[in-house]
């Protein structure tokens, strides 16, 4: 294979890998990559077979290869039902088109020794990469796409150079051009992160089945039938710019209260049955004015709630985020805290434990809150939180907040502490588009000692909860291990069920959740965790806010949108120094990973590997033994398989049988580590052995070689003088049996080795005339 052919195959391979990396369907990430690798392997096998001796007379593609090429291109449609059954995921139509094009590019690259196939392979692979990079997601596709960029530059250079190089002497391309192309490619790759996200996503519109309202593909992944809505700006006024419609004059931005009610349902107002005593007329005073509203200290959070019935019509799914978070995720953004619980309702925190006044860092606008120079907070996390459409006066902040900055506000008077360590502004609400930058510490659980935790008196009358908590934490040292154990047991043994509602007459929802229902929404998990931890004397509270989900991370925009569904409740325990740290008891929600330590990670990997090996020792031993035996006997196994294939093929005609026999001999020579070179004819290669093997076997070999010449190079009109099929069958069988792998190995050690060392193409050499 020439360099250009190799480059073409590399291009097609990179294109296939890009498609594999870009496929972000429901199947695991490795599945598409494995499929791509399989397609590459098939194309490689075809290429290898062609190199091994499939000839192509002329410069055209034989008809049967055109048929095979077409079938290979349509293979994704053929295997799609089986794939959907195995992985539970269907590919949309455009993706099947892309996979078909991928196969076509690979097949053309396998035939790249034909100039038309070489150019078509380059074109097809380019289109594949362009399409995959446009509609695919995930950072993984950057690597093959960037590699493709480099390789395609080299390919174009080589192609251009070969086109010019009509002279007999082939010269390498000048190095300056290679360097220039490499630098240009590098600049292109480096510029990708700076391209605006919306510019990149424009290319998505080129794919047909997403959007529109005429057809609906159940496998389509986004945008089905929303084209009219986008055009009419029913979903988003910004989608078509300015509009005269009064549809959006009233801002629909939800508040936290709206969000909680939307997520968990409206609180059920209990009928209060009180005993009333009629009072006299003189004690009644008429009030003509408007009743006063109590706006102070009235924030409550009822844990008995009823979910609204689902709307009759299908609601539009809002995709507009409320917040955008840039930085490490997952992340808990606290907005409100509650620390008093009466069994039904959590009440807001006291004003008593507010942090100290904040200071400016230098001239601002960074504000320093407290000194986080404590051993259990190690690294610093930086986040930028942009308020998109969220009506709140509280500033959403991560835990362990160290310092923050709100745009260019450099006055500490602009901020206040709300109840329970929640930062807020003096304004009624944060303006849309406000960015908050924060710096917060990262908790290192290994460094968190029991003395770092704050303790509180347990609530009286919760013996059952206390005994449950002690049972869960028995044997564990005091401190963070116990807290982790409680959260882990809740995650493991209880079911997250957002639709479950505690009975309206339930006196203690935490007990009901823990001992009876064993299922419920996230705030029940948080309540239960807080109750359990309080029973163990840890100072605990409930926090509501947003959970920034890592699976929403937009790798192009480099941020994570926070939508209405991300509202969440969790627990926090207090550490000394007024720091509250997050406890996440709800299944499906995670804490940020602790600071990465190489030694710890390697140790965990080793332990996990040993544990896995211990649990699967029998299977592992069997697999190892099987692998060792297979590797040791791989040549023999391959020989048995090829012999079976030889028996199966070539049954129809004498010439098929003869050629299959020679292929079998070729395979055995290859397995004997001395394959016949492509430039050697079988007669020359095996003829050298005729004198070293049994005479009858040598005679059979000569007969088969003669027949093979006749079958391969004689015109079809001469094939009337056929040898008897029985004679051919017996001779081939004798040769295949006598020319066994062991004999070939023995013969090659003494015979073919010498042949290879002096593989002269002309056996009849005239004597040298030495003066």
């Amino acid at each position: 294979m020439s360099n250009l052919n190799r480059l073409t195959f590399l291009l097609a391979t990179l294109a296939a890998l890009t498609v594999g990396a870009a496929d972000s369907g429901a199947a695991p990430r490795g599945v598409p990559l494995a499929e791509a690798a399989l397609a590459v392997a098939v194309a490689l096998a075809i290429r290898w077979r062609i190199d091994a001796g499939w000839p192509f007379p002329g410069q055209t593609v034989p008809a049967r290869y055109v048929v095979a090429l077409t079938f290979f291109s349509f293979l994704p449609w053929v295997v799609e039902p089986a794939r959907a059954w195995l992985t539970g995921e269907r590919h949309p139509f455009e993706w099947l088109l892309l996979l078909g094009l991928r196969n076509l590019a690979l097949a053309l690259a396998a035939l790249a020794h034909l100039p038309i196939c070489l150019r078509l392979a380059g074109l097809a692979s380019f289109f594949v990469v362009l399409s995959a990079a446009s509609i695919g997601e995930g950072r993984a596709l950057l690597l093959p796409a960037a590699a493709y960029l480099f390789a395609s530059g080299a390919w174009l250079l080589q192609l251009n150079w070969q086109g010019r190089g009509t002279a007999a002497v082939a010269r390498p391309a000048p190095s300056r051009m290679v360097v220039a192309v490499a630098l240009l490619s590098l600049a292109g790759v480096a510029g990708i992160p700076f391209v605006p996200a919306h510019t990149l996503t424009v290319a998505r519109g080129f794919m047909p089945s997403s959007g529109g309202d005429r057809d609906r593909d159940p496998a389509a992944r986004s945008g089905v039938k929303d084209g009219d809505d986008i055009v009419a700006a029913k979903d988003d006024a910004q989608s078509v710019g300015m509009t005269d419609s009064d549809l959006f004059l009233d801002s629909p931005d939800p508040s936290l209260y709206d969000t909680l009610s939307e997520a968990y349902g409206e609180p059920i107002i209990r009928k209060q049955i009180d005993i009333a005593i009629a009072v006299g007329q003189k004690d009644v005073r008429e009030n003509d004015g408007r009743a006063a509203r109590n706006q102070k200290a009235g924030r409550e959070f009822a844990t008995v709630r009823g979910r609204r019935p689902p709307p009759r019509a299908m609601a539009n799914l809002e995709s507009e985020a409320m917040l955008y978070v840039e930085g490490k995720v997952p992340l808990h953004l606290r907005l409100a805290t509650y620390d008093r619980f009466d069994g039904i309702t959590w009440n807001a925190a006291d004003e008593s434990d507010l942090p100290d006044r904040m200071d400016k860092v230098g001239d601002g606008p960074w504000m320093r809150l407290r000194n986080l120079d404590v051993p259990y907070l190690t690294a610093s996390n930086h986040h930028t939180i942009k308020v998109a459409r969220f009506a709140t006066e509280s500033i959403p902040t991560p835990p362990h907040l160290d310092r923050f900055r709100l745009e260019q506000v450099n006055s500490a008077d602009f901020f206040r502490w709300s109840r329970g360590d929640v930062l807020r502004t003096v304004r009624k609400r944060l303006p849309d588009g406000t960015s908050v930058q924060t710096r917060s510490g990262a908790l290192d659980p290994d460094a968190l000692q029991p003395i770092h935790l704050a303790y509180a008196e347990p609530a009286p009358g919760a013996d059952a909860i206390r005994s449950l908590a002690e049972r869960w934490t028995s044997g564990l040292s005091r401190g963070w291990p116990q807290i982790e154990a409680v959260a882990a047991r809740l995650k493991q043994d209880y079911v997250l069920d957002p639709d479950y509602t505690a009975p309206a007459d339930c006196p203690d929802t935490a007990s009901h959740f823990l001992f009876e229902a064993r299922r419920g929404p996230d705030f029940q998990f948080a309540s239960a965790a807080a109750a359990l931890l309080r029973s163990l004397e840890y100072d605990t509270r409930i926090v509501t806010g947003f959970y920034v989900r890592p699976d929403r991370f937009d790798w192009r925009a480099r941020n994570t949108p926070v939508v209405q569904e991300d509202v969440h409740a969790w627990a926090e325990v207090r550490l000394l120094g007024g720091v509250w740290t997050t406890v996440e008891p709800t299944p499906g929600y995670e804490l940020p990973a602790p600071p990465w330590k190489l030694r710890k990670a390697l140790l965990a990997l080793l332990v996990a590997a040993l544990d896995w090996c211990g649990r699967h020792s029998l299977m592992l031993a069997a697999a190892t033994a099987l692998t060792v035996v297979t590797m040791h006997q791989r040549l023999r196994i391959a020989d048995v398989l090829s012999t079976l294939a030889w028996r199966w093929t070539g049954r129809r005609r004498w010439d098929d049988r003869v050629l299959a026999t020679l292929r079998l001999l070729d395979g055995r020579s290859g397995r004997a580590r001395l394959p016949r070179p492509a430039g050697q004819t079988p007669r020359r290669w095996y003829g050298g052995l005729a004198g070293r093997i049994a005479p009858e076997l040598a005679e059979d070999l000569q007969r088969v070689l003669c027949w093979a010449d006749f079958a391969t190079y004689a015109p079809a009109t001469m094939h009337q003088s056929l040898p008897g099929s029985e004679e051919v069958r017996c001779t081939c069988a004798r040769l295949a049996k006598g020319w066994s792998l062991d004999r070939v190995r023995a013969a090659t050690s003494v015979g073919l080795a010498g042949l290879a060392n002096s593989a002269a193409p002309v056996p009849r050499k005239t004597e040298r005339n030495l003066a």
Binding site: G53, R683, V762, E767
Partner: protein, 336 residues
């Protein structure tokens, strides 16, 4: 019928093979211990090509040429090429006949069946080029008049590989007219003893004999031209020629005329093997002498010149090894 040892492929060709066997035997008697050289000479003859022998004096070149002329039943002429040899010395000249008061053409030595041009590289290019038309067209043009040569006209030219002084290397156009270049080499001691024994007495027992009937050579040559070359083999030849043009050590790759010659020699080689189709083995068997004469090789080192080693050998091997042989494909599978 078995195709292991195929008989002549038609009843008409059976006498030809018998005559060829006789000719082969006669030449082997003439040139003792060189059956491979004889086989190449026969292939060159049947392919209607011309032969260049590069060897030392006294190794049997003239004997071989004479034997061949006698074997095919034709005339033999020899020209010793010297620096003062004129083209008209080869082609012939018009002389004025005083009696008839007319010009008469006096034929040169090229008007023969087998011409031995000895030490052809000692004559200047002007005289060498006089052979161009003779070898390619088998005709001579003197004073505007074309004169046909014999149909079986065959040139055996010799040149000395060692003596470089006073020689005029053959131009590429001239070299391309030769079908192949061969070396005879010294015979083995046994064969030299046989040669000496045969020379004792008045009459050499190894004198050549006529093996072919009149006109039989032309008939055999037309049969050779009909030997089948399948598309796969043609494609193989084309790829080999392309590889020769791309090899960095080759100054001048194989020309289309050289490719045609290679195919004709391969046809003749297959015919000599009693086969009526060409295989890649035939192509490879004749590759070395066919390529030797026409590939300009850059790798002539002083060591190679000193030892007389064939400089094109490794290059030819590289060219042949770089092209995959078409195997395991039936003619019905291939679409040209």
């Amino acid at each position: 019928m078995s195709i292991l040892s195929p008989p002549p492929f038609s009843p008409q060709t059976a006498p030809d093979f018998l005559a060829l066997d006789r000719l082969r035997a006669a030449l082997n008697r003439t040139l003792l211990g060189k059956p491979d050289v004889v086989e190449f000479v026969l292939a060159c003859l049947l392919a209607r090509g011309h032969l260049l022998l590069e060897d030392l004096p006294g190794l049997g070149k003239t004997t071989l040429a004479k034997g061949l002329a006698t074997g095919v039943g034709g005339q033999f002429a020899r020209v010793q090429c010297t620096p003062d040899l004129l083209p008209s010395d080869l082609t012939g000249v018009n002389i004025f006949n005083q009696k008839s008061r007319e010009f008469e053409f006096l034929p040169g030595p090229v008007f023969t069946d087998v011409l031995l041009a000895d030490e052809i590289n000692r004559t200047p290019p002007r005289t060498q080029s006089a052979l161009l038309e003779v070898m390619a067209e088998r005709q001579v043009t003197v004073d505007g008049v074309q004169r046909k040569l014999a149909d079986q006209f065959f040139v055996i030219a010799t040149q000395n590989p060692i003596e470089m002084e006073g020689t005029y290397p053959l131009p590429e156009a001239q070299l391309d007219r030769f079908a192949m270049k061969l070396r005879i080499g010294y015979p083995s001691p046994d064969h030299e003893q046989m040669m000496l024994a045969a020379a004792v007495g008045d009459r050499n027992s190894l004198e050549p004999v006529t093996a072919l009937a009149a006109g039989q050579l032309g008939q055999i040559q037309s049969h050779v031209a009909q030997v089948a070359v399948e598309p796969a083999v043609r494609d193989y030849l084309v790829r080999l020629a392309d590889a020769s043009r791309r090899h960095p050590k080759v100054r001048l790759g194989l020309s289309p005329r050289g490719l045609l010659t290679w195919q004709r020699v391969a046809q003749a080689w297959a015919y000599l093997k009693h086969r009526d189709f060409v295989t890649p083995d035939d192509v490879l068997d004749v590759a070395q002498p066919v390529l030797d004469v026409r590939l300009g090789i850059d790798c002539l080192s002083s060591d190679q010149l000193d030892t007389g080693a064939d400089p094109s050998d490794p290059v030819t091997r590289e060219i042949l090894d770089s092209v995959s042989v078409p195997v395991f494909t039936k003619p019905s599978d291939a679409v040209a």
